[in-house]
Symmetry: C2
Subunit: 363 residues, 2 copies
């Protein structure tokens, strides 16, 4: 039988074709709704794995109306909360820290319990510092373990227990509801989750950069050695330590563990010419800023980088609802397929990682 | 940066992994519903690109209650209809007919207009023939051009103008509604359509073999030379020709055209060891038989082969509703990606097509 290439041009790069085809068929401008979709309308977005934002959807939530730094400080005045501490707001982020295997490590935060008023005072004071001054260590309440139904249970009644259109459409309750309290110095590095995600802004702003699952070849996923920040042992007690409002970030020590490596994106669309792959230039990131009361549908498997701005009270607060994704159907195995083809191609062509690594070393 | 293969085993065959992952996550037994889904329930199936069957959903349609060979013959007694004529019931099918480039061609039927009573008499008489006798040429009313709203308009009021759950969920009217009238001697070869398809059995049975879009590497798509059947010129008029009830199929001449080749699956799950690819053995075909009144959701891009059985009156009748698929989202570009990777791999490895072609030549 004839060679197929006699009839159709030989496409030497299916990955580039995939990203280009996707870009031709899909807008990189997010759809903006003015009211919540019906369950059926929502399911149409789930079906096409496409994000949207509903402006002001949560404006009448008690949380959106009442939560601010002072309200929270008072409401949680007797609580102790888990805080992620990093030198640069880089919790769970690829971080320069050369090892024999890699110029980057996956840096996990130092986690410690802090009295809530001390935590939020630290956030707000730091937010309002003269930008020319050193900011000290960065703190972020970001436990993604259903914390709004556990650690912050007393606040839970201020938000709906589920998002009705999502609960009805997906026919399930949320697997986790998470509260995020931080300031402009924390950034969530580009990553993806196996969840359908409804993200709601309560105070301040979040700035999302989104990439669809087919953009795996753009994000330069690398197996990063796992590392964790810790405070060196000091004579003072932990409580004393955490009450200091100007911790020096260089006191945090980053220790590489010998655990299994973490495959993690290393390309940042905000620094497009660092750690890029040959496909990064094809990505068309979707950018959207959530303001107070805005609601984002972040579809399962979408890459997202999130930075934040604070409100006048110096905090940024958000809540998100994670619903288990449906692993049946073609999307999950096809996303894995893109990853496998990209990996095989990179290996077959001698790959560009080594070169990237060298550049990183000289940066 | 380290070579990825240090951390995860090198998967040498992403295509096999894709099909295996899909099979692990998805059943090859079709879901059977006892009543029509709501628009939202339907949209969940669309979202996961997964078929289902609703038993007896159309049992109360006027068509399901009243259509049979005699009713149709009377109802359409003055109509002339387009009929596809082939020697073996192989309209639009890969057919052995060696050319310099290919042992198979894509055989299109001879199309001719016939008085409806003559057409249906031919079908029913042929259905009831002693199986040992030669059956003669095969006829099938199968124009897929919205014929129920055109050629067969007088019958259109016997079926719903749209399928409510699909119309509401997909937020569109059907692009085409097609009527199919044939007998057990016609088979629709494995192919796929860019439509969401609701297929409804009216008389007799249809036997579907379904494969999901990710099974492209299993179906051995080949660029087949296009060919068309024709009746040789005869002194008798066409009307006279078509009234003969025992046409000899060998009188149909198959002529290869010099048109562009047609990429078409050549693997038949019913003959798994002919024209197979290295991946065909991984396919888990979904098999479902539609009985009178049954309704099948055949998702966009699914491969389907359809054979049929007749009712006691010797005909098989079905209606299908095609709704435009949504090309946004990841499924369409990812399906193209699977095809491109498969094609590139086949070319890179010297491919198995030539070998298949040789075997075909000796068959």
């Amino acid at each position: 039988m004839s060679d197929l290439s006699h009839d159709e041009p030989y496409n030497s790069d299916p990955i580039a074709e995939l990203i280009e085809n996707y870009n031709e068929l899909n807008s990189s401008v997010i759809e903006e709704l003015t009211e919540e979709p019906s369950p059926l309308e929502f399911m149409r977005y789930v079906a096409k794995n496409t994000p949207f934002v509903v402006r002001r959807a949560a404006k009448d939530w008690k949380a959106a109306k009442e939560w601010n730094a002072n309200f929270l400080k008072d409401f949680l005045k007797d609580e102790t909360v888990n805080v992620a501490v990093t030198p640069h707001g880089n919790a769970d982020a690829p971080t320069p820290h050369p090892t024999p295997e890699s110029p980057l490590v996956f840096a996990q935060p130092h986690e410690e319990d802090q009295p809530f008023p001390i935590f939020i005072n630290y956030l707000t004071s730091q937010s309002l510092l003269d930008p020319a001054k050193p900011i000290g260590e960065v703190r972020y309440a970001q436990t993604q373990n259903d914390n709004l139904r556990n650690e912050y249970l007393s606040l839970f009644s201020h938000v709906p227990p589920s998002i009705p259109f999502a609960r009805i459409a997906l026919d399930r309750d949320p697997d986790a509801i998470n509260l995020w309290i931080g300031n402009q110095h924390s950034t969530t590095a580009m990553h993806k989750d196996n969840y359908e995600n409804i993200y709601v802004q309560i105070r301040g702003q979040k700035h999302f950069i989104l990439l669809p699952p087919i953009c795996h070849p753009c994000v330069n996923e690398q197996p990063l050695p796992s590392a964790v920040y810790s405070r060196p042992q000091q004579p003072s007690s932990q409580t004393t330590t955490t009450t200091k409002e100007e911790e020096k970030p260089d006191l945090l020590r980053l220790t590489v563990s010998d655990k299994k490596k973490v495959p993690f994106p290393t390309w940042d669309p905000d620094r497009p010419f660092e750690n890029e792959t040959e496909y990064s230039c094809l990505a068309c990131p979707v950018r959207v800023t959530l303001h107070q009361g805005d609601m984002l549908y972040l579809p399962a498997l979408w890459y997202h980088k999130v930075s934040q701005s604070v409100d006048t009270d110096g905090v940024c607060v958000a809540v998100n609802y994670w619903y288990d994704m449906d692993f049946t159907g073609p999307l999950y195995p096809l996303s894995t397929f893109v990853r496998s083809v990209y990996k095989r191609d990179a290996q077959d062509t001698g790959d560009s990682f080594e070169q990237d690594a060298a550049e990183e070393d000289h940066a």
